[in-house]
């Protein structure tokens, strides 16, 4: 009898094995078991069920009815889910067993009045519901349960032996009670353990015992699931042992005979087993992919492939080994000439597994993996180029693949574009994670050429085969690798310089078209064809960036303005926003190079004023405390960083910003020296100035900022030579200006700007000293030619910045001397301050009395302030009238306020201060009027 045979052999086996110190082996075997199990959908379902059953049994043991109920409900649901499989395979034995046991158990508990009383409320409730439920539920399985019980009752012994090793717990007790109560269990355990449980069981404590019993339980259920196809429990047992055999035979070659027997048995009995067996040795014996003599055809290989792939993503899977396997498989298929279809499919999977090698999203590929990946993709591309009759695509279903060699073209599922995109991301990740100042970084960066090459090839491939969207995507990739690189060749060509040597010329010719042309072509295609907004946005930004980088300011600006990106960029995702920031910065720097100081300042203002330029450009994280950003966010932000070779130099950025701010702000400050409501153009620049002022000891400037501050101070005095020497010197050249491609032009532009703005500042500051200035002297002083000086002064006169007129015959500027004296300025400032004071005071009254604010005629004051606004224009007339008006107004309201206060009896302090304000105003205004008359 087979059953007996196995039981016996099992025992023999075990006894022998004990001599071999087999505990370790067994354990390691177990590990392998879990590794190599290839699970079908059925297995998965069954595993789920068995796990649930296990917990139910545990809950039964400790009489936790609530838990029992919960698990049972889950079990029912799980069972329903696996309905399709059940229909095919029939209801599994273990499931029936549980149902029967559970019912018995519940009934028993129900009968046990004493116990029930002791139960807590929750448990009792659960018990009653569960009992009702299971009764109802079991009706569906009446026949099965009945037959099961019959078997149990008529031949308990047989059953016990049949359940044998797996259901150890059952052994000692009568078959009908699977109710495991702790004391009983422990009793049972001891003999069993001594019998054949892992030899260590003796030493193990009770609690571990318990665990083990669970282990065994699960094992038994496992076996149950695998034995599904068999009618009897016996076979299931056989399988369990077989499996153990399988694994063990590798270690114990002596038992070859036995193993063969077992193999035979297994094969005789079950068909479904083969799959597992195929997978099992695979890991251990790599070269032996297929059983000897198996005819290797594409079907077999595909099957193998799916097997390997099924292990993918599982916990215990050795990913490196899997990659090896796939490589081996590729080799086999190549040897056997199975055709490119298969090969491509395998390659796809190899690359995918390479990507999967790192389970963590943040981790980056190891160099060897990366090399392998590049090679693989290259090979894949080779194949694809060599065979034009291969169709690949994501949308080709698994079933409709055509891998075998036939007249039809190959059809393979998979998307090369996605793979390449992923590769590109991996490359970025590698660059992000390499120290940018190491040789390693340089080495890694050398791979960029290969990456670009692959993208180029893919581009060629997809241009012929791919859909528009795919082309757009690959174009964007290409753009992303192009936009930030300065095209020196094109630059030199545009300058009309030929390569100095012959070889260089050759190189130039072979270099292909300018990056500008490429960018233009690719971007225009995307603008026309792209349907997703994101790709187009990115393409536009890159295009602008590229234009700006190559100093095509007007094209860049127009593109930026026409795209209206400024309006809706805040809705974009962070990487696009970073790209936008980069573009804006590049645009600003470009404007600076072109001498558009104002545009440069405006473009850079937002980035610089935030003080987080580094973060906004994705070039590093600012130190911040954990409250603002938790670890998770930090990881995300780290992933967004731009690799170092694409960085924009932050010092250059700041310098450009500060210098343009200086060129704008210093003349402005000089022009509005006495204006109380003067606004700052650039806060940051003022901040730097203040920092400079606060220095107790002013040494020669060291840092870039100090240079700019020192230059600003010189400029304030109209001393352009000093300013120039501070801005352009060796230190600044090496720090900033040499970073521009057209250094010389930029420097020339800067000098000119400094001269012009210094001239303006000089005129603003010292015009009150002069009655007239000869323009020739000015042009000598600032080394500007006469027409330029003339135009600057004319502009200032037209803009009413300078109260002067030009005297043509003598070439002099005649000052009108209508600028207010400092005393007058001060009085004006005071008047304005008093206005503010009154307003503040009114607010206090508003609070106290509700609608008091309406009392003062605000329009009138508004009018006054407007008049204040032009006082520069026709100062003498307006100011006097406005002062008079103001005096009248003040006088009037103070009288009103007096009458009001007397009527309402408000001798409060605030009222007093209001009176005082009126008094001050009256005083000042009377004084002013008299003074000015």
């Amino acid at each position: 009898h087979i059953l007996i045979f196995y039981t016996v052999s099992d025992k023999q086996n075990r006894i022998k094995l004990i001599n071999h110190n087999y505990l370790d082996l067994l354990l390691s075997d177990d590990e392998e078991d879990t590794k190599r199990v290839v699970r079908s959908a059925k297995d998965k379902r069954f595993e789920e069920l068995t796990n649930l059953i296990k917990t139910i049994r545990n809950a039964m043991k400790i009489r936790d009815m609530a838990k029992c109920l919960e698990e049972f409900e889950q079990l029912c649901r799980a069972f329903l889910k696996s309905k399709t499989i059940m229909d095919k395979e029939g209801v599994p034995q273990f499931y029936i067993r549980l149902l029967a046991d559970l019912e018995d158990y519940l009934n028993q508990l129900w009968e046990d009045k004493e116990g029930k009383k002791k139960m807590n409320k929750n448990n009792a409730k659960a018990l009653s519901t569960l009992r009702q439920k299971i009764r109802k539920y079991n009706k569906d399985f009446e026949t099965e349960i009945a037959s099961y019980k019959e078997v149990q009752s008529c031949s308990p012994d047989a059953f016990t032996s049949s359940s044998g090793s797996d259901d150890d717990d059952d052994e000692g007790i009568t078959a009908k009670s699977l109710l495991k109560k702790k004391p009983q269990e422990e009793e049972k355990k001891a003999p069993e353990a001594s019998k054949f449980l892992k030899g260590a069981a003796d030493e193990e404590s009770e609690s571990e015992d318990d665990e083990e019993s669970e282990d065994w339980g699960s094992d038994s259920v496992d076996s149950g699931s695998e034995s599904e196809d068999n009618e009897g429990a016996a076979a299931s047992l056989a399988v369990v042992f077989l499996k153990k055999y399988d694994s063990r035979r590798k270690k114990h070659k002596k038992k070859e005979r036995l193993e063969e027997e077992a193999d035979e048995e297994a094969e005789a009995e079950e068909g479904g087993w083969e799959k597992v067996k195929g997978g099992a040795p695979m890991v251990k014996e790599k070269p032996k992919m297929f059983a000897k003599g198996t005819e290797i055809n594409s079907a077999v290989v595909v099957k193998k492939l799916t097997e390997i792939l099924q292990a993918r993503g599982k916990k215990g899977t050795d990913r490196a080994a899997q990659i090896e396997l796939l490589h081996a498989l590729a080799g086999i298929s190549n040897e056997n000439n199975l055709g490119e279809g298969i090969l491509i499919k395998i390659k796809f999977n190899i690359i995918a597994s390479l990507y999967d090698y790192n389970p963590n999203l943040a981790a980056f590929m190891k160099p060897d993996m990366w090399k392998k990946c590049l090679e693989c993709i290259d090979e894949l591309m080779d194949i694809l180029f060599a065979n034009s009759n291969i169709f690949i695509g994501e949308n080709i279903a698994e079933d409709s693949e055509n891998l075998a060699i036939s007249d039809q073209p190959f059809r393979v599922r998979g998307c090369i574009l996605t793979l390449v995109e992923r590769m590109d991301e991996e490359f970025t990740k590698i660059m992000q994670n390499t120290d940018p100042h190491s040789q390693e970084y340089v080495d890694n960066l050398k791979d960029e050429g290969r990456v670009c090459g692959i993208i180029d090839r893919l581009l060629q491939y997809l241009e012929t085969k791919g859909s528009t969207e795919e082309v757009c995507r690959v174009y964007l990739r290409r753009i992303m690798h192009t936009y930030y690189k300065f095209d020196y060749k094109a630059h030199r060509r545009s300058l009309g310089l030929q390569g100095e040597t012959k070889s260089e010329q050759d190189q130039e010719e072979s270099e292909g078209e300018d990056s500008a042309v490429i960018m233009d072509r690719l971007c225009k295609f995307i603008y026309a064809k792209d349907r997703t907004d994101r790709i187009r946005t990115c393409a536009i930004l890159c295009h602008i960036y590229h234009h700006a980088l190559h100093s095509r300011w007007f094209q860049a600006r127009d593109l930026m303005l026409m795209s209206h990106l400024q309006d809706n960029i805040q809705h974009a995702d962070p990487p696009v926003q970073i790209l936008y920031n980069r573009t804006m910065v590049q645009l600003g720097i470009c404007a600076f190079r072109q001498g558009m100081i104002k545009d440069a300042h405006n473009a850079l203002l937002d980035i610089q004023s935030s003080g987080r330029a580094k973060e906004l450009l994705g070039q590093g994280l600012l130190m911040r405390n954990m409250q603002e950003r938790n670890a998770e966010q930090e990881k995300i932000e780290k992933r967004r960083q731009v690799p170092f070779h694409m960085h924009i130099n932050l010092e250059l950025l700041e310098c450009v910003y500060l210098v343009s701010a200086m060129l704008l702000e210093i003349p402005y400050m000089a022009a509005h020296e006495f204006d109380a409501r003067r606004r700052m153009i650039s806060k940051q620049f003022h901040h730097q100035l203040r920092v400079g002022e606060r220095q107790p000891l002013l040494g020669p400037p060291e840092s870039m900022r100090e240079h700019v501050v020192a230059a600003s101070k010189a400029m304030k005095m109209g001393d352009w030579r000093t300013c120039h020497s501070f801005i352009i010197n060796e230190k600044m050249n090496s720090k900033v200006w040499d970073l521009f491609p057209e250094t010389q032009c930029v420097r020339e532009m800067l000098v000119r700007k400094i001269q012009e703005e210094s001239l303006r500042t000089y005129l603003f500051t010292y015009s009150s000293v002069y009655d007239s200035i000869s323009m020739e002297t000015l042009s000598e002083m600032f080394e500007l030619d006469l027409p330029t000086v003339h135009s600057i002064i004319s502009k200032m006169i037209i803009n009413e910045e300078l109260m002067a007129s030009l005297d043509q015959p003598t070439q002099t500027v005649v000052m009108h001397r209508t600028e207010p004296t400092s005393l007058q300025n001060m009085a004006l400032q005071l008047a304005e301050k008093l206005g503010g004071l009154v307003e503040n005071n009114e607010r206090v009254f508003d609070l106290k009395q509700g609608v008091y604010g309406g009392y003062f005629n605000r329009d009138q004051r508004g009018g006054y302030q407007q008049k204040q606004g032009y006082h520069r224009g026709g100062y003498e007339h307006l100011s006097v009238t406005s002062k008079l008006l103001f005096t009248l107004f003040c006088g009037g309201s103070s009288q009103n306020a007096l009458s009001l206060s007397s009527s309402k009896q408000l001798p409060s302090v605030d009222m007093k201060s209001v009176f005082l304000v009126w008094l001050v105003k009256l005083n000042v205004c009377v004084f002013l009027c008299l003074w000015l008359l």
């Binding site: 005393l823 005071l830 004071l837 206090v844 007093k912 201060s913 001050v920």
Partner: protein, 330 residues
């Protein structure tokens, strides 16, 4: 210097001192008077009926930070003792302070004058403007705290309500005491003689038309004070707003509580326990108003000086114009 009577302010003062008589000898003799640095000293004299006669003074030594352990009280005692030895009035009757363009109203002045007046009831503070005096018009003023302000200072209640209750405004914080300068006959004779000898050229300074620097300085300081005032008002405004907001919240809370209690009563449940409302709604710290008051007072002083100055200057200007007019006609 000729003995001259300062115009006594019209109102009668309800303080023990109605008049101050200063000996011509009493001159704050400091070397550094021209600077902006404030110098201080002690006034000595005696009270005769309702007249406070100041007969002598000595300065507080200017001590730098180096000798921080200098004992001022010790010095004063020593000084007074020495003065008594030479038979000079040694009664402490007040103190004096120099001023820079009329800025003297400050917290420090208030505090020290309070302590003086607290200890010696008839003490005064003399404010002396060296710059203005150098320009030709003697600027010497005596001030005392009004009884109302004394009251407040004693109670240290500088909140808005306290000031309101005491009805102290900036104009009745200090009272000015009229000053009479009296010289001994000998000195008078000397002065007469000197006047005869001196030429008129010395007095041209009085007619100097360019006075913008002085005005600018005054305006600058006036502006600074206005800024401070403005800030203070904003502070007060914020306080008022937060106070009213809290009041509203409190009110709402009480209403809700009442409603709830009414509901509970109708259901027959016991009302919710009363909680300490003042704990739940802590009133915001009211900003002290004394500083505002002081600034206001200072402002009014500035205004006064500017007004005086401008009116003087205006007179001079008109005079100059008239002179020029006649010269052009002729």
């Amino acid at each position: 210097m000729a003995s001259r009577k300062e115009a006594p302010s019209g109102k009668s003062l309800d303080s023990p001192v109605r008049q101050i008589q200063i000996e011509g000898l009493v001159r704050p003799h400091h070397q550094a008077l021209q600077g902006s640095e404030v110098v201080q000293g002690v006034l000595l004299g005696l009270v005769v009926e309702d007249r406070l006669e100041i007969t002598n003074c000595f300065p507080f030594p200017q001590h730098t930070e180096d000798d921080a352990d200098f004992d001022e009280v010790q010095y004063q005692m020593e000084m007074m003792r020495s003065l008594r030895h030479v038979n000079i009035d040694h009664l402490h009757v007040g103190w004096y302070q120099s001023t820079f363009y009329g800025s003297f109203v400050s917290r420090a002045l208030l505090d020290s004058q309070f302590s003086y007046q607290h200890a010696i009831e008839e003490s005064v503070v003399l404010i002396y403007d060296p710059i203005k005096t150098a320009q030709g018009s003697l600027c010497l003023k005596a001030y005392r705290l009004t009884p109302k302000l004394m009251e407040i200072c004693r109670e240290k209640d500088f909140s808005a309500d306290g000031l309101k209750k005491a009805s102290v405004g900036y104009e009745n914080m200090f009272e000015e005491v009229p000053i009479v300068i009296k010289n001994s006959h000998l000195i008078n004779v000397l002065l007469w003689e000197l006047e005869d000898k001196s030429t008129a050229a010395d007095k041209h300074e009085l007619l100097n038309l360019s006075s913008s620097t002085h005005l600018e300085k005054s305006l600058q300081m006036l502006m600074d004070r206005v800024d401070e005032m403005s800030q203070d008002i904003v502070k007060y405004n914020n306080y008022c707003r937060s106070l009213s907001k809290q009041q509203q919240q409190k009110h709402q809370y009480i209403q809700r509580r009442q409603q709830e209690n009414a509901q509970r009563q109708s259901r027959g449940e016991p009302p919710l326990p009363e909680e300490d409302l003042s704990k739940m709604f802590k009133p915001p710290q009211p900003p002290p108003r004394m500083d505002t008051l002081l600034i206001a007072s200072q402002l009014s002083t500035y205004c006064q000086t500017i007004k005086e100055f401008t009116s003087q200057n205006l007179g001079k200007l008109f005079m100059a114009e008239a002179l020029q007019g006649t010269s052009s006609y002729s």
